[in-house]
Amino acid sequence: MNKTLIELEDIHFRYEQRIVLENIHLKVQEGEFWALIGPNGSGKSTLINIILGLLKPNHGTVKLFGEDIEHFHKRELIGYVSQKSNSFNSGFPATVLEVVRSGLTRKKGLLKRFTKADEQIAMDALKTVKMDAFSGKNIGELSGGQQQRVFIARALAGKPKLLVMDEPTVGIDQQNVASFYTMLNELNREYGIAILLVTHEIDLVTELASHVACLNRSIHFHGVQADYERMGDEAISKWYGHPVRRLHQSEGGTSE
């Protein structure tokens, strides 16, 4: 039986008096690729912050790898990729290899220095995302899509079982978005890494994901991708809050 990596039970969260999340139940299991979709302000990032332990829910329990989040210390099992624009200063004087190697910080533990072997691990992670040729480049010199690949390599360096990504394609041009998602699909299929991907795109990702969860304050649908595909655009429009029409890759992209 597959191991449960994330288990959310009856999560409620509010900012002051405003209810952001209510009655959230979700299970992510080993090897699954989840797309968590919803309109802007639907609580997606809040939910991710709760899963990562950056926010505490007002009610409910979060379990990671079967352990209550309060007692979960094996953080290296989770790789995290955020919105590029939120977290990184493009003038930072660091090479791609230095950035990827920093993904091993927690795994190495306190008071231990990086070794040649760690450098090799970082290079292997870069190879996985096809960015090894850029290892000596300054991180600020790369395009948005390339930078996001580097941040995935940083998350992969610690050999995680689960990748959590919060709108990783924000600021990346549409052509690179497609190849970015294809790479995620490969990571999921070839390496068995479970993925929880937050996005406001409702078609491109959901064609690749194995499971889809639709969030707008509460979860309106969660299940396998085939069931999501069978759902009509009207049903999606209802919980989305405004009319939406899904485009398929053959139609050329994403729409809301």
């Binding site: 955020s82 939120n86 930072f92 920093s102 910080t105 220095r113 300054n138």
Partner: protein, 288 residues
């Protein structure tokens, strides 16, 4: 100069302390600059001023205090200020930068009160404000050496945590790095470096030795390791040239050190610009 250096203990103290500070101030300064915390060094140095002024005032009033080195008070005040900044940053989670002007103005305010109570600026205080070649005692040098050992050990042992926290604080937190411990230690170590540097560079100019060589290094460094090496080399150059000119001109070394580092920064910016223009010309030539 060499014979004077060999003959006078105070000059040896000043040069040894200067060379050590030229290493540790830019070394730590790199992490301060990339984290966009350059003003923290200013805030802490002004808190150190309050400590020094307080110590000079107390030494006028109570005999016991005149036996104590004011540097200890300056360091103590800077460490206290660093902890207060951290506390204020946690109180104002959405306006963390507010902690800096609050502590900076608090430091100046307290310093002004002690200076007024001591009936104005003494020669001693001027030495602390702008640095002094002649005022570095063996005891001061010992303090600098001890602080330098603490700082280099801290950076050596926590390099990877400092890097990940500086590059991406959110990722550092999520990945389970003990960011709070590293941040608190970082603030205390910054206060220690300010305490160690103020005798040579002066309270008012200490933050520039932590930031100007780094600003120059960042213009030309491709990696973090390179930025670290260039910062230290430029910091050492500024301190040595600054101290030698201060000795010959018989003026406060703080000014000459800082002006040398700014001059080096201008050279680096100019060199980078010329090199960039040359590259463009070469490319145009190849295309033609």
């Amino acid at each position: 100069m060499i014979s004077a250096l060999l003959s006078y203990e105070f000059l040896q103290n000043a040069f040894l302390a200067g060379i050590i500070i030229g290493l540790i101030a830019p070394l730590l300064g790199l992490f301060i600059v990339v984290r966009r915390l350059a003003l923290i060094a200013d805030a802490l140095s002004h808190v150190a001023l309050a400590g020094i002024a307080g110590s000079l005032y107390l030494s006028q009033q109570v005999l016991l205090f005149s036996a104590l080195n004011p540097v200890y008070f300056g360091i103590g005040a800077a460490v206290g200020g660093s902890l207060l900044i951290e506390k204020l940053r946690s109180v104002y989670k959405h306006y963390e930068e507010l902690a800096i002007p609050v502590i900076l103005s608090g430091g100046i305010g307290l310093g002004a009160i002690f200076i007024s109570l001591s009936q104005g600026f003494s020669a001693d205080l001027i030495g602390y404000l702008f640095g002094s070649v002649s005022a570095v005692s063996r005891q001061d040098l010992l303090v600098v050496v001890v602080i330098a050992i603490i700082v280099t050990l801290f950076i050596y042992l926590f390099y990877k945590e400092l890097f990940v926290l500086s590059f991406d604080a959110e990722y550092s937190k999520v990945s389970g790095v003990n960011s709070r411990f590293i941040q608190l230690s970082f603030m205390v170590v910054t206060a220690l470096v300010i305490g160690a540097s103020m005798r040579i560079v002066g309270i008012l100019l200490v933050s520039s030795l932590m930031t100007v060589p780094v600003a120059a290094a960042m213009q030309i460094a491709k990696s973090f390791k390179q930025a670290m090496i260039y910062s230290v080399v430029l910091g050492e150059l500024a301190v040595i040239i600054g101290l030698v000119s201060a000795f010959y001109l018989d003026i406060a070394p703080g000014g000459t050190i800082v002006m040398t580092s700014i001059f080096l920064l201008l050279i680096v910016i100019g060199w980078k610009k010329i090199r960039g223009e040359k590259k463009v010309l070469l490319k145009k030539g190849e295309a033609a």
